[in-house]
Symmetry: C2
């Protein structure tokens, strides 16, 4: 192994092969569920260095199959499914992309930005903004997650309703293959029907098929105004009806549609009193709507008023407020984004990141709520999420007064099975935006169609026959 | 072979295995460039029948490798790249999806429509419209092309600027694999990060990896109004500037941005005098803009007026008209859509379906026009296309008075090489929306990155090791 490390030092420089001291920033996932042991953390500074590192590891693996060295690509290390930290074998190289953090180009006429994989998402957003454009990908970890990680995991976030997942924002990739070859697919083309879409195969493959080193992403004109509204709805079915009305009244202006259950909001009220959660006591659910308008704030407001008038007349909304200004709009988003922290304050819970056909969400929630309460009397459901995308963070909290850790130990497998069985029954997905990583690997084997799993395995075998890239993630192989 | 045909008759019924008489409707592509000879045309009526047909053919191929039976999936047979007709070996089964033409479901709350592969595109559009929604895929062949063919070739069309290619409209697929297994991926989910994106792998694979039998597609709210404007621009650079202004002023309302050279419009004027081409003599290029507004026609008009005022002030537009009503709007589109026919009337030409980063289009056109005129004095360029997507139909017409057939014979390879070399130099694609088929197979081998080609071959080998599905298309194997 020492020879390998020496070779890697020759490629990236001594300072960028870390094999001693405290490596926990790279070895431990940020939710601290897994603590691995890396052979080394290698930090290449260019695509050519990434390619050379991969070639060297591939050669080593071929020469010493018993040592089974492998590579774990890592960006900002914010995976929610333990997808980017090493196992405890001491045989995995963490290949950190953090030094590859340049924005290579902004092309105004083409509405594209090309950046390296290690660019922090917020940096990409800021570069776009400085050029007068919007890069719409936005999510809680944006201050530390990287573009490469966003692509590898096909991250979602708060603007998917209008702009799609990371996948839909990407026009081209640069990839280092498991053989250490460089594929330059940084086309920036909106149409390119020249063979199989390799881009979409790499996006969402969580580093198991190769290493994304750079990408060309779409930009959009900046909206002239972004307004939010907050509405009380009498039921999940009413929320779905409101979503249909919002599509109709706001058109492509509808950029956010978040649903939050009363219990989820009560936790924010309890733990963050200063946030002043509006209207949460007035109904079982609230909805946060965002309207991004290319004309003006006045126009955005007028559009919202037309929508809310129709919704109140319909009965799918019982009360609502429209933010008076940008600062109020931000405050409403802050309430929504504080739910995650508020539930942590209340104690650990069993988290789910699921999606469903939107039409099935009311029945799913009703059925699953009832089933859980029957199995675990007093259980509390923290239900919130991106209803506009059919994505719920349907989390299960211990009954009042019950120790959270004990609750998780006792009930997690049973709760997961019940929830995922219901998701499957209603035509949904057990991972909407967080991916599979190692955390959901076994569940994927259980819930995914065997035909699809077989195709996935064939593809992995075809592109990475050595199983060099991020083994034990996404697909058993 | 007779046993095989008998087995297939047992599966789909005697009436649906055609092996005698005039089969030219299936054996000949619609531009009549290729005339093949099928072993039989097989027309299954269900996914189960498709699976049984594929299993039977796969077994036959394994048992009699020297006979090398294979399958050519076919929809409406409107491929522009000879992608869906059999070769002349007499060993290919044309598997026509035309009997699988049901719309299975429209889900209003989920904004999705699920239809079988053999559904004619126009039928899909009409079902959406009857339910009160827009299915935005629209292209010249929509009266006969099928949804399965659109997906297999990732068709583009006139609304890509706002809604993307067929790929971007698809949320899920049902596929019969080359082994005759059925993958049901008809999820209708907007977020689903459970492993490799098989959907995008099948879309655009032109039937070489399996057979798409059904799909779940996105629907959109119907716009309240669709207006068009027609502008004279002094240069291609001015057209690009106008595109930027249009994105800014119209936001997501901008659903069409078509550029047409003066010569292209002169052909419409010459061959279809009754269409009354506006303003074509006033500048080197005209642009057709479409604004789809979710509010009202008055609002759409006001938005257009703001845009055109800014564009006239900037100088990127020298004159413009806005359609007075829907009928005028349609008339403007008809001029645009008549360019194809007008050039046929003028005589066959050398067609290209290319895309480029939009920022490179002015330089590409200037350089390539000049190079062509130098090589072939008097050559005429029919340049038009979806500038908003970076997609040009850059066609090369014989000099005035020169016999078109002789011109093609003499110059086609040279012109293709010159144009595709320039496309490559400017970072573009040799096939924007028509695909590869068999027509561009050799060119793809020449122009595509060897790393990408190697990955494509590995994937083909992994999923279809027998090379049963549409051999000789997309990728040499």
């Amino acid at each position: 192994m020492q020879n390998l490390l020496n070779e890697l030092r020759t490629i990236v420089g001594n300072a960028h092969v870390l094999s001693e001291g405290d490596l926990s920033a790279w070895e431990q996932d940020w939710r601290q569920r897994a603590h691995g042991k890396a052979l080394a953390v290698v930090r290449p500074g260019s695509t050519a260095e990434v390619a050379a590192v991969v070639q060297t590891c591939a050669r080593h693996r071929a020469a010493y199959p018993d040592q089974a060295v492998s590579i774990v690509p890592q960006g900002g290390n914010t995976s929610l499914v333990v997808g980017a930290t090493p196992d405890d074998s001491g045989r995995q190289i963490v290949l950190s992309l953090q030094r590859m953090n340049r924005v290579r180009a902004v092309d105004n006429a083409n509405l594209t930005l090309t950046a390296e994989a290690g660019c922090v998402l917020q940096t990409v957003q800021e570069h776009a903004l400085n050029a007068g454009y919007l890069f719409p990908l936005s999510l809680a970890a944006e201050g530390s997650c990287t573009l490469g990680g966003n692509l590898g995991s096909n991250a979602g976030g708060t603007q998917v309703l209008r702009f799609g997942n990371t996948r839909e924002l990407c026009l081209g990739l640069e990839v280092v293959t498991p053989q250490g070859e460089v594929w330059n697919g940084l086309s920036g083309l909106r149409k390119d029907n020249t063979g199989y879409d390799l881009r979409h195969l790499f996006i969402g493959s969580e580093g198991t098929l190769g290493i994304i080193t750079a990408a060309t992403m779409k930009l959009y004109p900046l909206p002239a105004a972004q307004l939010t509204a907050w509405a009380v709805v009498p039921s999940m079915q009413a929320a779905v009806t409101l979503l249909g009305l919002a599509h109709h009244h706001l058109g492509a202006g509808l950029t956010g549609f978040e649903v939050m259950s009363q219990f989820a909001l009560s936790l924010v009220d309890k733990h963050f009193k200063q946030l002043r959660v509006p209207l949460w006591q007035d109904g079982p659910l609230c909805v946060l709507l965002e309207n991004s308008d290319h004309e003006s704030e006045a126009h955005a407001r007028q559009q919202f008023e037309g929508l809310l008038e129709a919704a109140l007349a319909d009965g799918c909304v019982t009360d609502a407020v429209v933010a008076e200004n940008l600062s109020q709009a931000k405050a409403l988003w802050q309430v929504r984004e504080s739910i995650s922290l508020a539930q942590s304050q209340e104690g650990l819970n069993i988290k789910h990141d699921i999606s469903l056909p939107i039409s099935n969400i009311p029945a799913f929630v009703q059925t699953t709520d009832a089933a859980l309460v029957q199995v675990i009397p007093g259980v509390r459901l923290v239900n919130f999420g991106h209803l506009g995308d059919g994505n719920l963070h349907y989390n299960v909290q211990a009954p009042e007064g019950v120790d959270a850790a004990a609750f998780l130990r006792e009930h997690e497998p049973e709760v997961n099975r019940l929830v995922f069985d219901a998701v499957t029954q209603f035509g949904g997905s057990i991972s909407a935006e967080h991916g599979i990583g190692s955390l959901k690997l076994h569940q994927l084997e259980h819930y995914k169609s065997p035909v699809a799993l077989a195709m996935m395995r064939s593809i992995k075998q075809a592109l990475d026959p050595q199983n060099l890239m991020n083994p034990g993630r996404v697909i058993k192989f």
